[in-house]
């Protein structure tokens, strides 16, 4: 026996996983120190998708930030749009019309559904569950059709405006949404049957990536990953924005914070989001979708072409940009991955002095070494899937 052990390779091996690796959906590099298959040390390197978001924002007007926010979490861009718009509105002190709030809630929840579906689908795919992937991608396609109907684009939405929206809901939107949800629910239950009691899937995800609640809080976890640890923190409940306080929905929580709990939380949140959209469509009031403040929100094209005052306001807001009063605000919304915060500083000019984003997956990615030390190298795949690191958001 000792003769065999003598020739065994017992040194630690360092391998690079990434930056372009088939199972890490996101450009990230893991520097893994291995003892056999066990992870001794893990270093995460990010920044491959860094494009200077804040610097770009500081050199444009407040309106020109919107397209950049689409590209933060590009799976649920509408939530980023809404978060930024709400932060600027808080800075200015605008309250948008009721109808606008409801449409924003609908937009946010549709995005959340697409986000969670993508995450579960890709997570399943990377563990070999190709069928589940196809089902959820079909469902996501239908949700993206709705989003396309709403704003003309599927991913780069650029739909929300400061003090309003680009356009109102299109005709037949409610009918189409209800039809889509009917199909989504069928697909949801198919995926549920394929994964939730699937022995192979459970063996790969259960008790992997666990995190005690206390530690998750210290690491700055938010969103589904925190709720999987049993902490019922959801910005929509804790600091309700828009009309979330009027919606009846549950916040699902897990127990151990392992990858299976994160999966279950996301699956249930898809259902809850569909409930919210249905309620919002039911309660949707009439009225305008834009505030009547021509200094901040452009008036209709009809007015701009026919009225001199509207034309002047339009000209000023486009060329110089809107001018929020000097000050600073922080506003958080619940994105697909957790608390998405915007910290804005205005100096009273037409450009943001500072436009900071608090990316929810940034602290989650930072905790990868903590979750992975002592585990097997194969456990990186489901854990990294379930924290749902989005390069555009993490690296900005």
């Amino acid at each position: 026996m000792s003769e065999i052990a003598k020739d065994l390779h017992t040194e630690h091996m360092v391998i690079n996983m990434g930056p372009s690796h088939p199972v890490t959906h996101g450009t990230v590099k893991f520097l893994v120190t291995l003892d056999g298959e066990t992870i001794e040390d893990l270093k995460v390197e990010i920044g491959y998708l860094h494009r200077g978001f804040e610097k770009m924002c500081e050199s444009g007007t407040w309106y020109q930030v919107f397209p950049y926010t689409d590209r933060l979490n590009y799976v649920s861009p509408l939530i980023n749009n809404v978060g930024y718009a709400l932060a600027v509105e808080k800075l200015i002190g605008i309250d948008v019309p009721e109808r606008c709030k409801y449409v924003r809630v609908i937009a946010c929840e549709l995005s959340r559904i697409a986000d969670h579906m993508t995450n579960v689908a890709a997570g399943g795919l990377e563990l070999g569950a190709f069928t589940a992937f196809l089902y959820f991608v079909e469902a996501r396609e239908l949700v993206w059709d709705l989003i396309e109907m709403l704003c003309g684009a599927r991913v780069t939405t650029n739909y929300v405006r400061i003090g309003g929206l680009k356009n109102d809901l299109p005709d037949g939107f409610k009918q189409k949404t209800l039809e889509v949800f009917k199909r989504c629910r069928v697909l949801w239950s198919d995926v549920n049957k394929l994964l939730t009691k699937n022995r192979v899937f459970i063996d790969r995800v259960r008790d992997v990536g666990t995190m005690p609640a206390e530690e998750a809080i210290a690491y700055g976890f938010t969103g589904p990953c925190l709720r999987a640890c049993g902490v019922p923190y959801d910005v929509r409940k804790a600091n309700p924005y828009l009309v979330y306080d009027r919606m009846d929905f549950e916040v699902p929580i897990g127990e151990t914070g392992d990858n299976f709990d994160k999966y279950l939380v996301r699956m249930e949140e898809i259902n809850q989001s569909m409930r919210i959209v249905e309620q919002a469509l039911e309660q949707l009031p009439g009225g305008p979708i834009n505030v009547d403040m021509p200094y901040y929100r452009w008036q209709s094209k009809d007015d701009i072409y026919n009225r001199i005052d509207s034309l002047i306001f339009h000209f000023k807001t486009v060329i110089e940009g809107i001018k929020p009063p000097p000050g600073e605000v922080y506003l958080a919304v619940e994105s697909g991955n957790g608390e998405l915060g915007f910290y804005l500083v205005s100096d009273g000019s037409g450009k943001p002095y500072k436009c900071r984003v608090r990316p929810p997956c940034f602290p989650l990615t930072a905790a990868m070494p903590r979750m992975m030390k002592g585990r097997l190298i194969a456990d990186i795949v489901p854990t990294f899937d379930m924290i749902n690191m989005i390069g555009g958001e993490c690296d900005r």
């Binding site: 920044g47 809080i217 938010t222 600073e328 910290y343 608090r358």
Partner: protein, 160 residues
């Protein structure tokens, strides 16, 4: 007056280190001396009436032409009381460093590295202060206001 409980408690306990407080748009804010940041954060986390257990965000702002030039901004959240507070600490360019709060909240680790990377503010006592988003060998700190927007520093070839 639930919102200002934090600011009251802070002023009672750290009266000398609080330079200014305000609640613009409902966001409780305290501007503090940078020397006391660790003691102050520990107090905010552990005090029974505050319990700020989340370090939500940490960033910096460059107020070029003002003294002190930089401000490190902390956003904290208390799950127990559902309150938020913003702590700001001025950092002058001549002594561009502040104590690290990683011992208080481990979440600060990457956030501090990012600020170090993009603003060049050093965090004393940080366990692993390296660039995070940009590569080793990048010159300058791009989020400083005097860094040109259009400056290019292409990285070609392997790092080592």
């Amino acid at each position: 007056m639930d919102a200002s409980v934090t600011l009251q408690r802070l002023t009672e306990r750290f009266g000398d280190s609080i330079l200014e407080t305000h609640s613009y748009r409902g966001d409780d804010t305290a501007v503090v001396k940078k020397e006391d940041i660790v003691a102050l954060c520990t107090f905010l986390r552990d005090d029974g009436k505050l319990l700020y257990n989340f370090m939500m965000d940490l960033t910096a702002v460059d107020y070029l032409g003002r003294e002190p030039r930089f401000e490190v901004v902390y956003h904290l959240y208390s799950l127990r009381y559902n309150r938020r507070v913003r702590i700001k600490a001025g950092v002058p360019e001549s002594d561009c460093s502040i104590d690290s709060i990683v011992p208080v909240w481990i979440a600060a680790d990457w956030f501090e590295r990012e600020v170090f990377d993009l603003y060049g503010i050093a965090f004393n006592g940080h366990p692993d202060l390296r660039r995070l988003l940009l590569y080793e060998g990048f010159e300058g700190h791009p989020l400083r206001k005097d860094y040109p927007v259009k400056k290019r520093q292409p990285l070609i070839g392997p790092i080592n």
